[in-house]
Symmetry: C2
Amino acid sequence: MITAGFYQFHPKFGQIKKNLGRVISALSSVTADVIVLPELPFTGYLFKDRDETFELAEDLQNSPTIERLSKLCHERDFYLVTGFAEKSRNKVYNSALLIGPEGLLHTYHKLHLFNTEKACFDPGNLPLKVVEIRGIRIGMMVCFDWAFPEVARILAIQGADVLCHPSNLVLAYCQQAMTTRCLENSVFAITANRFGPDTRNHGEITFTGQSQIVAPDGSVMYRSLPDREDLFITTIDIEKARDKWLTHKNHVLNDRRPEFYEAICEGKNLPNHR
Amino acid sequence: MITAGFYQFHPKFGQIKKNLGRVISALSSVTADVIVLPELPFTGYLFKDRDETFELAEDLQNSPTIERLSKLCHERDFYLVTGFAEKSRNKVYNSALLIGPEGLLHTYHKLHLFNTEKACFDPGNLPLKVVEIRGIRIGMMVCFDWAFPEVARILAIQGADVLCHPSNLVLAYCQQAMTTRCLENSVFAITANRFGPDTRNHGEITFTGQSQIVAPDGSVMYRSLPDREDLFITTIDIEKARDKWLTHKNHVLNDRRPEFYEAICEGKNLPNHR
């Protein structure tokens, strides 16, 4: 049994220190093994353009935000999976970071960018990878990655127990789709969404909350309200994620027939079917 | 616009002629382009063993059932996708057949066998393949294939407009999972389930009805009751399945990153993660 959960809140655009302070304060007396934060929880989401994204993003090797979060993890002895606007030389990624008492442990760059993110971020360039902490195998994915069944599948094949899923959701589909992801892979998923609007001169987007934890049988263990701050921590039995038998004779991973799945891995230049 | 639908009914185990008569009678005055029947609608499902399955299965080249269905398709000028217990030399497959006015057009052998089917059938040995009829691209999958996102994905990559999905469902998960399959691939799906029990000396299974048609946005257009005969035909706009844009900038297939998906196509001998 481990304790895991998320913090759903309303980041204020561009106010990195204030948002960081909010997170530190909310988590300052929490006991847990793993806590998931939303996508881009420090910068906010609705960047004007790539230049502004780059300006607000931080370098992993020189980030006061990561330093402060590492200190929090050390003080509270927990691990965080958090969204992060990451710059690296001339690139800028919509990232998820795994941070623990020992500092930054793993970085994932969102592979599937949503909508206007394509104008602000570079597409992810790193393979999906499961990282083990305290005997828990963490798979990291970011927001719109939910729409691509390949992501959760690959993390499950690598042995993930828990999909940690920082999100800034605007569409209504993700929460239900994640129940399918959990069932088909027999994994837990913690989707940490933000709520409230990002209001800028060039537009406004309102995020939909409803952060959730889903069990390996696809059942929703808990779901937040759409518009309230919510810190939720629960115990989860990761052994349930390691039992991959959907029936006595059906193993969700070993019953796969990869010899018939080649089309999934072939080049992306598909014929135009229209 | 095409007209398509399904026939949900209660086949009686082992009574091939009677079940066939039931189907012929139900469809004798129907006008449609495509009608989907359940999995194994003529033999029934709960075989005692492989020998019994083999005994009740028919050879594609010598099947009174296929001949009669072809005649029906010719008379009514429609296409059927139907489950079928198929024997081929010393093999026996849980198949889906596409039959039209011109006869048998395509055969699919269920790739992912459910539970005790593993003792009665050989696993599918043919690649997934989309077949075009009257400008409609038909993808065929059988029942438990729903649990493997790879199946619907591959059919969508091949250009399927409509997933025709003969089923004999006993678990409660499929109907919701199919809404995710449709959304993530922007395709229609027609799941034709049977209802009622198969009661044999060696056991009983009750099937759950709730056949459904799902639209490319994941919405359920229609769902049958769990325990009633139901012939349902509707119009569907296949152009909706050809619009793969989930947002102005997100194409559900072209946004895939197959260069990162290799693990899905690799050998099935996974490490034991326990």
